[in-house]
Amino acid sequence: MAVEISARGEVLTAVLIGEIDHHSAFYIRKEIDSAIELNMPSLLILDFERVTFMDSSGIGLVMGRYKTIAKRCGEVHVVGAKPQIYKVMKLSGLERLVRLEKCS
């Protein structure tokens, strides 16, 4: 599992690569949270295009980041979710909180 993070003005983008489960979520969370603290973004883009597997730990991960960003009235966008990942996200009702875009 890896995360590639880039900041541009108010926008922070995290490209997640590999499998997201309880084991890997811990590391991803740490990486993204330190970038949030450093950059204070108003928009966090979580790019799931290169995520090959995700269970409900991924929901916890997105929700947790949403809580932090929403405190500052920011937004979270999830992009590139493949069918398996989209299915897990739909089940959680996550799209009520974050903008959810399927993989095209």
């Binding site: 499998e19 489960d21 309880h22 084991h23 979520a25 969370r29 597997f53 995700m54 269970d55 409900s56 730990s57 929901i59 916890g60 991960l61 929700m63 947790g64 069918p83 398996q84 299915k87 897990v88 089940l91 959680s92």
Partner: protein, 148 residues
């Protein structure tokens, strides 16, 4: 024509084993010629059950997780058992969004298992452990088989 196979294994409740167990079980399920979606469903449900043993059953210790799998006709059964803390109120535990953890758990593990598999049975005794039995029927795809 009877199609029957089984395997069982025991792993320690270490988080690296989450990906190990779901990979092994999904590889075993390939014997049923599932679709990509069916394999993903199985992987995700197994990942939830194993994670629960690690983060809940053996919260502050390392214990053994017992996995046994069976293919019979066109049904995959996966049994995941621990000897951990057990669940006091199973009905409540299975409600979506219910969690006893404050560590960014979404409380959706059982909801995923329920919706991605055909059936789920949970047995548990406080102080003794928990058994989760998951089943999924994989439909036969004759058309595909003939083409090979």
């Amino acid at each position: 024509m009877e199609n029957k196979n089984s395997f069982s294994m025991t792993v320690l409740s270490k988080s690296v084993n989450e990906s190990f167990v779901r990979s092994v079980v999904s590889a075993f399920a390939l014997g049923l010629d599932p679709t990509v979606e069916e394999i993903s469903d199985i992987k995700t449900a197994v990942s939830e059950a194993v994670t629960n043993c690690i983060v809940h059953a053996y919260k502050d210790t390392i214990g053994k997780i017992y996995i046994s799998c069976e293919i019979k006709d066109n049904v995959l059964s996966v049994k995941i058992r621990d000897r951990g803390v057990g669940i006091e109120n199973i009905e409540q535990a299975m409600e979506p969004l219910f969690t006893t953890s404050d560590d960014e758990r979404a409380g959706l593990g059982f909801a995923v298992m329920e919706s991605f598999m055909d059936s789920i049975k949970v047995r548990s005794a406080v102080g003794k452990g928990t058994t989760v039995l998951l089943k999924k029927h994989i439909s036969v795809r004759y058309a595909n088989k003939k083409q090979r």
